[in-house]
Symmetry: C2
Amino acid sequence: MSDLHCPKNIQRIGSLLFQASGAGEAEAELATAELVKSSLLGHDSHGVMRIPEYLGFIEDGSLKTQVPIETKQTSATTAEVDCGYGFGAVGATRAIELGIEIATEQGTACVVTRRCNHVGRLGSYVHMAADAGMLAIATCNSPIYGHHVLPFGGREGRLATNPIAYGAPTAGNPIVADFSTSVSPEGKVRFYRNEGKLVPDGWILDSNGKPTNDPNDFYGPPKGGILPLGGGAGHKGYALGLLVEILGAVLTGESTTSTETFGNGVCFLVINTNSFTQTDTFRSLLTQSATYME
Amino acid sequence: MSDLHCPKNIQRIGSLLFQASGAGEAEAELATAELVKSSLLGHDSHGVMRIPEYLGFIEDGSLKTQVPIETKQTSATTAEVDCGYGFGAVGATRAIELGIEIATEQGTACVVTRRCNHVGRLGSYVHMAADAGMLAIATCNSPIYGHHVLPFGGREGRLATNPIAYGAPTAGNPIVADFSTSVSPEGKVRFYRNEGKLVPDGWILDSNGKPTNDPNDFYGPPKGGILPLGGGAGHKGYALGLLVEILGAVLTGESTTSTETFGNGVCFLVINTNSFTQTDTFRSLLTQSATYME
């Protein structure tokens, strides 16, 4: 990036655009900051290219501004956060903050979202938890319209790309992982199609269940599917995708086949590292592990 | 199986052999039952072939009989179970029972083991939790001597095959998944070597980091490695393996590079489905999902 002021400018422009569309200052700042951060980290698919998309959602009424976020604690350690279809990043931030609060007191927490718009980069939230000394796992599903991913051996999509992320504190920057449970996210297949290129082997099947490298065979019509993570061991990626589906939908009482559900189903599992070994020991042992992996 | 009495006979023989080696009746029955169940489910690698192996461990002192299991609750929802190097299945059963107890009261639980011998089939424990209406995730790591699995892009093993299992209740039998985070478990590579056969593409590298199909190139010397789950997307399998390592070792204050640590590091994350939607709703929604996946 040649202009060091550029991220600040985009932050300002994005925030003001959202505010001009009816958003409050705090939510506009937070939602824009999440997108800018993703772009700066090189994850453009979850970055500032989403600003015009979100503006479109505000215009069509699917993203609501200045809505209250309602949290409901359902047991000593579990909670549901109703995001009211406001900015997904605002709802997810509230959810992980609540998870950190509960786990700090109780040792563990499980917090899920309802009526949650696109949360952006899942890794961002587990990073916040790791910064607070927590080991956090996050999952995110999408309803039926995003079911691009084939069950192992199947030929029709039944799951979204259902990412898993986790964050853990070290003596330095936390370890953060964030990945879809399919071979590839849908956005990458779209990228190849837009570039007029063939996708690598083992990514997609056409509508007849036959391997293909032509991204147009995935989009159809008739529509093909993206393969689950794992190739010949794709039953493992499929099992992981199903776990994300269970945590994101079934656990909160949502049907995974509903055509009326809309938005991301996020689940945060938070473990206080201080409830086992001391957090400082955890940090130094994980730093040692990371060095061993290099 | 042609003789329907056969599992009962093996149960009786196994249990009596363990008892003759010093085990108490209850622990001998439970440890044998776990192995018999694995064999009946077709998972022979974790089945009755382990009876002579465990007898050897009792003889060499690494598996201790009639030792107390000590549980230490470290917060409202977290606990450590010191298995005292008794039968792994006995310790792991106590750990999942404690996880179910805590999650029933508090909504969630995280229970880890210490000084735990081979626990057998991880899926067995999450199955117990699902039978109690819980959604449970289990992970299991192994110390440095089991580090057969390569980091993505690496050429020396740094992780064990680090399995993940989960169980969730439905209206019928629970959904249970249980899989290593490497392309293949080590036992399958051994099976190919014993059969004098080549392993499939994408399973192993030789000691120079080159792809090979010859299982002897994995065993060496010099030793090669097993690839993480995911092929070209093997960074995802690697991230999952590292998560299992963090839950199994770092969280409990164990160094992942210690040459003195011995046994399985198990972590159970238990979520009470009743703390979100009602368990009956969960059961029927997951049954509906399973039908949709077919």
